[in-house]
Symmetry: C2
Subunit: 193 residues, 2 copies
DNA sequence: CTAGGGTGTTACCGGTCTGTAACTTCTAGA
DNA sequence: TCTAGAAGTTACAGACCGGTAACACCCTAG
């Protein structure tokens, strides 16, 4: 029975989860594969049996992150079925909570900054995943009945992205502390148009 | 006469300028001191005669960047003497131009993301320089007669920071393309309050 | 002309990194 | 119980990193 051994997670998944956590905390170039495998309670050979390279592992981590984000959006829909405006407010609240709890920014944005080589294989993935997130936010704004949905969604995107990076450079008392106020103000303002 | 040899820039300054450029393009961890000195037409020993360590060099680069930003602000004042609102619009225009021309984000923000160690010596410097930039923007907004000067300044800060990082992850056709429209709209909106 | 400081050159240290090879051990399924 | 494949272990290759030592050079101020 494979469920009986389900508590013992497969090495591949342990590596993936550990790598996500460590990449998030210390950056991609800030952590080596040895450190990841050790923290995951396994070894380097096992890593390279499941992933072609470190870059491949990075990409899989980003996909996993996007997957987690998907789950968030499904939660919004589940908690406020049909009420797109409430879902938009839930998005703002979630974003603010992440800001407060986390401290380190968006994995994809951080990776994009760290992996400055324009032809890095992860860049394609980052772009396409970020694009998907953008499209979804635009869709939510539009379905919430906002006229200039794209402009609002893009503004909210930039605000959140900016808050995440500002949190790391200026700190928690910096501009990012006002994120919710800005976002809610913007939504109100766009609804009135 | 030392001015006669001024065309031949001092190795220290060549290293500093080259390092700024390379750190900006490839990130701090993405470029080694050997590559910097070679590109600067000198060698590693000379670098370490002028800078205590690579971290020290990084910090000096960030200070130099802040210095360049200072020059920008003086240009605003020189071009629109006394007219703070015009200076604010000039700031927006400058920011947008940087976005279009550059592609890579703010050196300080990028450094903050890359140097994830919370006790890294550069972090203090980044925080204090970013704080100074924020204070100056707040002052400009206030002097321009805007009521909620802090909120506007912080919103503009986050928008710009977000646009810079979005440019690297989603690309030029992403949300950052609307930066000017957002910023100008915000200024108008805040002036009307 | 000369002395001395700034600079260039070469070699090296110890460490870390990604990635691989060869071999042993474990474990699940027939 | 036996076997095949997954996982662990050890060692290593080759490259790059930050930083230092020793020494030769050049150029300018006196």
């Amino acid at each position: 029975m494979e469920d009986g051994a389900a508590e013992r997670i497969r090495p591949r998944d342990r590596i993936l989860e550990t790598a996500r956590d460590m990449f998030h905390k210390h950056g991609i170039k800030g952590v080596g594969v040895d450190a990841i495998t050790e923290a995951a309670g396994t070894n380097k050979m096992t890593l390279y049996r499941h992933f072609e390279s470190k870059d491949d592992l990075v990409i899989e981590c980003l996909r996993a992150t996007a997957c987690s984000a998907n789950a968030m959006w499904q939660k919004f829909e589940a908690e406020h079925p049909g009420d797109k405006l409430a879902q938009l407010h839930a998005w703002v609240r979630m974003a603010a909570d992440c800001l407060l709890m986390d401290g380190r920014g968006c994995d994809m944005a951080n990776a994009a900054i760290e992996l400055s080589e324009t032809d890095h294989p992860a860049r394609r993935v980052i772009k396409e995943l970020k694009q998907a997130q953008r499209d979804r936010l635009v869709g939510l704004c539009r379905d919430a009945g906002i006229g200039q949905a794209e402009l609002l969604a893009d503004t909210l995107s930039l605000l959140l992205e900016g808050a995440r990076v500002s949190l790391q450079s200026v700190g928690a008392e910096g501009p990012s502390a006002q994120f919710v106020r800005m976002a809610e103000g913007l939504i109100t303002s766009f609804r009135a148009r």
